[in-house]
């Protein structure tokens, strides 16, 4: 029975027991170790016992009944203890199944941990913004494609694109870097639907998309040659979790590839002071909703800390002279709209948005002016997963 069991004691008030993998026993007796861990945890917790099932992909009824028996045991043996089942919206059977238990027993709750953890998700799922993401992709791609071979990408690889967004990367790779297989994972169903439609329209059979959480992927260990995560680490409170997952699914000898923005380096001329100040304030606003848009600077450290070797970093220097100014300006316009919605979400003081607006408007002017100059720096970094960890 390939279920992994993990217990974490986080003080007397809360204990967590994590079950991952597959739990489909023939008889409940096969779950004796799970049951005794649960009981042990319940005995030593005063407040809440969390049963973490985020990455339990399969569970049969024998197992479910045993959990139900455990809950009943708690009711009799540890009255006053609360039990919380932590489940993920990614596991398609879980919510309904556990809802029944939560309805039956007042001391049991379920928490769908990933219900709304990306604060600006709604903002970016809007049709208009989807177009902008595509424009952004288009202008980045022209610079990125030249660098990908240097980062170790070549045709015939098994690729995982984590936080794939609208899935364009998969399509763009087809001509120069046709993968043997590519799976794109994202936590937005509208994006994935769009991506899948695109792939069906092109009749591509080597691409698949999956709804998932980058911090708790269901993909197996050591199974991809090239794992990318583009312009996405910045949206997470704790990017380490994501990077650990990228590392886990990458095979030894394979490479992890990141692109990260550095908003504090966005600039332009004329009005460079206003532009810089605008982006500094934009960064501040992003931090309030839990995003770090200056993460580009940390790219090397991130790759190093997760344990990669042969680290490479380069700059994708997008300027209004190597990119269609019209497209570039549209991208900045979209940031401005996003900033407005973010300011509302964060309940920010009006001056914050005003500064952002002044800076970004000046940037757009610099981009579109005949004699203006404007840039948007993005770092592309990669590293190899070692064959043996010391």
């Amino acid at each position: 029975m390939p279920v992994a069991l993990n217990m974490r004691l986080t003080g007397n008030e809360e204990q967590e027991v994590t079950l991952t993998g597959t739990l489909r026993p023939f008889v409940a007796d096969e779950m004796a170790s799970v049951r005794s861990s649960l009981e042990q945890a319940a005995r030593t917790t005063r407040g809440t016992l969390c049963v973490n099932l985020k990455r339990l992909k399969y569970m049969n009824n024998v197992a479910f009944l045993e959990l139900n028996r455990f809950v009943r045991w708690v009711a009799h043996t540890r009255p006053g203890l609360r039990v919380k089942f932590v489940i993920s919206s990614v596991i398609p059977w879980a919510v309904r199944k556990f809802q029944v238990i939560a309805e039956l027993y007042p001391f049991v709750t379920i928490e769908v941990y990933d219900k709304a953890f990306y604060p600006i998700q709604q903002v970016i799922e809007d049709d208009d913004f989807m177009n902008v993401l595509r424009t952004q992709q288009k202008i980045i791609w022209e610079h990125e494609r030249e660098k990908l071979a240097w980062h170790g990408l070549r045709p015939g690889l098994r690729i995982a694109d984590i936080c794939c967004g609208l899935g364009d990367f998969a399509i763009l790779l087809q001509s120069d870097f046709r993968p043997e297989y590519l799976i794109g994972v994202d936590h937005s169903k509208p994006f994935l639907r769009y991506a899948w439609q695109l792939v069906s329209d092109f009749g591509l059979e080597n691409i698949e998309y999956q709804y998932g959480d980058a911090a708790a992927l269901l993909l197996p260990d050591n199974s991809f040659d090239f794992v990318s995560c583009r312009l996405s680490l910045q949206v997470f409170h704790e990017p380490d979790h994501i990077v650990n997952e990228l590392y886990r699914i990458c095979r030894p000898g394979g490479r992890i590839y990141l692109t990260n923005e550095m908003m504090s380096g966005v600039t332009g001329y004329p009005n460079e002071e206003v532009i810089r100040h605008g982006y500094i304030r934009f960064l501040e606003l992003c931090r309030r909703v839990g995003m770090d848009l200056d993460i580009g600077l940390k790219t090397r450290t991130i790759l190093h800390e997760v344990g990669l070797e042969d680290i490479k970093i380069c700059l994708l220097g997008i300027t209004n002279m190597n990119t269609a100014p019209h497209d570039f300006a549209r991208v900045v316009e979209s940031w401005l709209r996003t900033a407005k919605q973010m300011a509302a979400t964060a309940n920010a003081e009006p001056e914050l948005y005003e500064d952002v607006s002044a800076g970004l408007t000046a940037h757009i002017e610099a981009i579109t002016r005949d004699n203006g100059f404007a840039m948007w720096p993005i770092f592309a970094g990669s590293g190899r997963k070692p064959f043996r960890t010391s």
Binding site: T22, R24, F26, V27, A28, K57, Y58, M59, N60, N61, V62, F64, L65, N68, R69, R72, V90, I91, P92, W93, R96, K97, V100, I101, E103, L104, K189, L192, R193, W196, E208, Y209, Q210, Y211, L218
Partner: protein, 185 residues
């Protein structure tokens, strides 16, 4: 335990399946002996079949994970309740966004009684309360019928039975709920 006598909906007949509303997806046949040799076969087969049936969905893996949950429960019940010899036949059809699984298996008289009872319970009007009551008062051993009950009570699957006269075989029809391309019920 008492069973309320109710009329179970009639299973679809072969003539229905011939209509254009049903799309045949795949069929599989294997011996009872081979299947019943190992418990792990339920899991492997459920995943394999689910993955095949989900191949053209927007999120094939998630769709398959859900289908595997349903198929596995049915296979586990079959694993525990079948005659020792003969063939098991599985047919998957699709009507709109519903997958219908027909499983035909060799049975003993005892098995036959079990399946009739299961279908009857699953089709009684107050299924949800039944299901909850069984969770609140769980049996000591394995409650092998509860998997099927849950499919109906929690996921709105429907289960019917067809017993061709004079044969030691019967068919179960499990109609899965509407599942979207991303594997959402």
């Amino acid at each position: 335990m008492s069973i309320v006598k109710t009329i179970t909906p009639a299973p679809p007949v072969e003539a229905d399946f011939a209509s254009s509303r049903y799309r045949m997806i795949m069929a599989a046949r294997f011996t009872v002996g081979g299947f019943a040799r190992e418990w792990g076969h339920c899991h492997l087969l459920a995943n394999y079949l689910a993955r095949y049936v989900s191949a053209n969905e927007g999120d094939p893996e998630r769709h398959a994970t859900l289908l595997s949950t349903f198929i596995n429960e049915l296979l586990e019940v079959i694993f525990r309740n079948h005659a020792v010899e003969g063939q098991i036949e599985l047919i998957f059809r699709k009507r709109g966004r519903h997958v219908i699984l027909q499983i035909t298996l060799p049975v003993t008289e005892q098995n036959r009684v079990f399946y009739r009872m299961a279908v009857q319970i699953v089709n009684q009007p107050d299924l949800k309360s039944w299901y909850r009551a069984r969770l609140e008062d769980p049996a000591d051993g394995e409650d092998t019928m509860l998997g099927l009950l849950e499919l109906a009570a929690v996921y709105a699957c429907s289960l019917t039975i067809s017993e061709p006269p004079g044969q030691d075989r019967l068919s179960l029809f499990l109609e899965l709920p509407e599942v979207d391309d991303m594997g959402e019920v």
